[in-house]
Symmetry: D2
Subunit: 407 residues, 4 copies
């Protein structure tokens, strides 16, 4: 239906099109619209004030790249049916649907024993039942249960459209141009051999640069120490709030946040009834941020202090360490808090955090990135690149921090 | 102090620098940090999903342009002291400080009889007292009470750095490249004659394009009918909530929102005590959006219906009219709501809105844009442009809409 | 044939594709390759040093936009056959084929009585015979003899892909961002009604901006007074060289340049034999520029002086006048040259030029730009725009200059 | 003098300013203006048709970056005098002054025993004498004879403004966005310790990306096999022409080209008289390209064939080899040419070329890139990077090609 064809302006890729009614209806689902209220980069805006973009736009962008990738493969003679194209587009549109507000923090505090990936699947199944089973093929691709594996690889592998979009998009909104990858060029180099996604060898330098850009984005943006400081602080805030809730203290919060704060919600709750999922779907960044603002006036000394600092951007300070913080480092900090701020030892634990950030550029255990040569041979990028060999690529880099509240 | 010199990544202008401790301290003030939680473009993200950028970043960007403008003028021999430069930078950083969440909507519902400009001034004075009077000169420039008038013109005139920043920035985040203006070129053409800001005649085509771009942004972004539909809907929601509050109904809301919902706050409250300002300073987008999400389950039929629709992006539909909607148009709508949804006439009034958008490109009553010729003569752009004469520039364009809830 | 499918990197649009063997073969024709050696903007590099781009790249870019336009129209249900698509692409690829080096100068000096448009047609016919008539349909479209007129309009009208490309491209390479037009958006708004190209009314502001950007590019780039000074100087150089040639003086030049310098080549030569066309096809920027460099050492005092100045960028100075230069202005100049440089009156005429630049934004006599409203009505942009009415759009603007050699 | 301050539009960096009369006068020197007629990327336009930009613009861009770098260092308290700043700017403006047309080809054919770097120095000395010694300090910096070594490092080291500009610029004009480096960010990270240029450790990922981008540009642009094919072909053309010249055959060419074609010009000629330098300074791309076009009709069968192919872009084909071409590979080719085209063995040698391209990313023998840590320690990037260790960085990569004329 022509009336439902839709073009959406995107500052990153220009125009995103929603090419048919099926995808348009999917976009209108409340679970998808909810992503409008969840920031792609959580608390990174404290460092990169432009990074306010939503998971909704990322999902749309990834869907756009999927459509482009499918078009490229079709031009190269790979037969992808209309339904397969739609299913792949739907799968990528929904790949992040289960993210909660400030996901990584949330998974350590408000819910336990269930990951956002598992929640994504629960949500897809709910949408599928709302849409009379029209998502079944998309879910099979998402779960890697569809026979044509390259479709899954485009959604989730070392070189999927998810990563292509988020590197372009996050670097764009952060203003970190170095993180940009040549997404158009990489897409043009894609091909499929024996149901495996491959990159033609002309694209090898673009892949190298993609891996380097990804690593740069990790250290410069995703694991930026000030962002991590903010995350650690948020984690301490939510933990403290949950502790107070468990003691029956009254805290301002939205009903959805109340559900997760005053109960210990685990994977079991999600599997036994649909209440947990319904409440989860009501939760977004605004619930957390507006509550914290109110908690700045909390009776609890520690919660108030943390929330005032968080709201006014007086974040945890950071000390970089050669090794994880020692008992002694911590004791010195704690005793100072106890003395100066008149806290108990337990309360003082809310004012600092030990944390190690880890990354490797290329994970050997995931699907490899396969390079296709003109003579038909295929080699892993770690083998094909004369610059980035496996040892370099899979090197595990770890950084240790001690975050602490500055009195 | 070197340690406090700060560089902030901006996707629009590259790097923004906070050149000294005075401006850095100002940036840390909670009133300024609060702008991080207020979107520059309110509800435009419903149309342009990239438009999530904050008023904080806009203020920083405008301050950057002010620093550039001052540097250009100094190179041309205009003497601007260090203090004047700082004061001008502070004034533009704070020019929008009084904006509330979804300002224009708010000014029609939660507060009355006081504009965000007046609140800006109250806030500046509060910050000034927090900072021991270091903002006095900035406030004088802001109020146009400083003898060197061109400093005020750079902050507030037809061609101020506020407009230069927001046109560049809003078009950037919306992905509407046509709205971009050649800010660097325009800045390079600025000069001062007899304390008046002028543009050298080589820049005349850039000014023409600036005016055309501005008009384009008005119709394509700021007054986009779908954004306006969302705003009208939000206005109806807040009006309904306020009505219910006046009847003593209990509604979920943050304390700050509660203050404005359950009281009729006017200019008098702001002038008689500082409570109104303190509460106002606690209010931001998250209070409004999280409350509306909760109200989707409200007992009140009308409030629930509007909030569910708003949250899930089923916005008011729009009918464009040649003239403002007639009594008859409205009666037809209302009687249908009354019949189909079993509403009272008063309740039905929440489900539609008549609205006219008006704009003119160039306002004769504000400061003119003065063009300086090599021979020293100065002419108003409306006179200097062979394309855009006064008649074209000041033409008032009006569009009439009827927004309505689609059953 | 897959092997001949080709993708070309373009800094402006990203990737240009040559989608099939027919267009690929066309691209390889020596007449098309020659455009690689002719700069799109002639002597503008004296003002905008980035403006070195070739007519070849412009032609490819316009062909790319044509493919995009055809794809948009097909999505809207306009039936355009494979052959028609190819013919339209070929026609736009060749639309500028007849341009010589520094075309406008050349047409006043080296050839007479024949325009580059006429030469384009001669060249197309030659290529057509080289390609066994495969260009016949393209030529019919180019000449507006094909029944479906909108195809011709996309090649040559107020809003053709030629203009869309050159505005984007020239502003890009000059670094004049203000000249950019939203080519992607405009293309998406195209439609066809009764065989006429129309723009959907949502695109009206983009069209306004397109017209303003075009006007800006005229005055800021195409008719920039320093570029025009260089052109006037080149015209004087070639006229002087031709005069010396007519006197039998020996001047260094390539055989092709020799042909046009030592003969008076007119339209007749082109129609009577193919020698003129063959020689013309051998002429490009390098012939002119390398000859002028050598002529800097010419025996002829005037030619040497002009060529040294031109090569080392000591261009004619310019005086802007309210009206065309008077007899008196000129006499003063001339007598000074005669006295100071010991020249004859004739020789002195080589050292100055009177010139008037004229432009109007929108030409009533060409095809209008038609705006299509949702209710099916169509209005001319001059009528539809509330800003740019016919009087503004068709206003003829004229500027008068006196260019002169500065001793 | 204000009148001589000049701003030049640059599509890459926006505006380039020539801040004073000294630099302005330098820019006007015929040797500098000549760079307008020499393409930065020689024959790369055969692959990347946008790559028409001149060495003039590159030199201006590098001068711009130098000014930015100096401003950054001054803000950090490094004392750089006005004269030093000017000298550094002049030195980088002139760093490439000695390049001839298609430099690398030229150095193998038209001149011998002297590099373009040596010619640069000769030219600088000539300009210095034209400018009454005002370039003396610049030349000392250029030759690394100035005591403050970091000034030389900014002009010529692993991380000089030359490379920063050409990577940004070449990738921009080629449309290879992946080659862009974060020049603004890198400049902001520069510092000086003990007269050595260092990069602050926050910039480490930008440096890694700079090195990867550089490598990418080498293989994707500078050593692109089709560009190299064109260069090899040009080399064969010039060698053949020189051979014919040595036999007294008459070939069309400009006087300057004649000088180098009909004489064996070596370093001695340059040192014994200034004629060689004067002729060299008259030579640019147009001499070569216009001559080749004429030679397409040469009596000599081989020269004609090569020049027709070159002019019409029927370049050498390429075979990639694991090892350098064997005697046998070559014999097969040659005998085919001899038989089919009726050539002598010597003539057949003009129709193919064996070539190996070599690159390493980081040269241990040049200045290292030094990273400065907050605690004051300094480490080489090869040591500091956890990804790019010395072994990876200095790895020598070699590719072998056999280029041949396709009959």
């Amino acid at each position: 239906m022509a009336g439902k064809r839709k073009i959406i302006n995107d500052p990153v890729f220009g125009f995103l099109s929603v090419p048919n009614e099926f995808l348009f209806d999917l976009l209108q689902h409340p679970y998808v619209q909810r992503l409008n209220r969840i920031r792609q980069l959580g608390l990174s805006f404290f460092v990169y004030p432009g990074a306010m973009h939503s998971r909704f736009l990322h999902s749309l962008g990834a869907m756009h790249l999927m459509q482009e990738a499918v078009a490229v493969l079709r031009l190269k003679g790979i037969d992808i049916s209309h339904n397969e194209g739609n299913a792949a587009a739907a799968a990528i549109l929904l790949h992040d649907i289960g993210h909660g507000p400030f996901s990584h923090v949330l998974e350590h505090t408000l819910v336990s024993g269930i990951s956002h990936e598992e929640i994504s699947l629960l949500m897809m199944e709910k949408i599928n039942s709302d849409m009379q089973g029209r998502l079944t093929e998309a879910i099979r691709i998402f779960r890697d249960e569809y026979p044509r594996r390259f479709l899954h690889q485009m959604i989730s592998s070392q070189l999927d459209v998810d990563r292509l979009d988020y590197l372009c998009r996050d670097s764009f909104f952060c203003g970190v141009n170095e993180g940009t990858v040549a997404e158009a060029r990489i897409l043009k180099m894609l091909n499929v051999v024996d149901d495996r996604l491959v990159v033609e060898s002309k694209g090898i330098y673009s892949i190298e640069k993609f891996l380097v850009a990804r690593r740069l984005m990790y250290w410069q943006v995703y694991l930026h120490k000030t962002s991590v400081a903010a995350e650690q602080m948020l984690q301490k805030i939510l933990a403290r709030a949950k502790h107070l809730a468990s003691e029956g203290k009254d805290l301002f919060c939205s009903p959805a946040l109340h559900y997760f704060l005053y109960n210990n919600i685990t994977a079991e709750h999600f599997s036994h009834s649909d209440k947990a999922l319904r409440q989860y779907a009501l939760l977004d960044d605004t619930d957390i941020l507006s509550a914290i603002k109110v908690w700045a006036d909390a009776d609890d000394h520690v919660l108030g202090l943390l929330c005032r600092a968080f709201t006014n951007r007086r974040l945890f300070k950071v000390r970089m360490l050669e090794k994880p913080a020692t008992e002694e480092d911590i004791l010195t900090l704690k005793s100072n808090y106890i003395k100066t701020l008149h806290l108990t030892a337990d309360e003082a634990d809310s004012l600092y955090a030990c944390h190690s950030s880890v990354t490797n550029t290329y994970s050997a255990k995931d699907d490899s990135i396969d390079i296709l040569y003109p003579d038909g041979t295929i080699r892993d990028i770690a083998d094909a690149s004369d610059m980035l060999n496996l040892q370099v690529l899979t090197k595990r880099v770890e950084k240790h921090y001690l975050f602490y509240y500055k009195i």
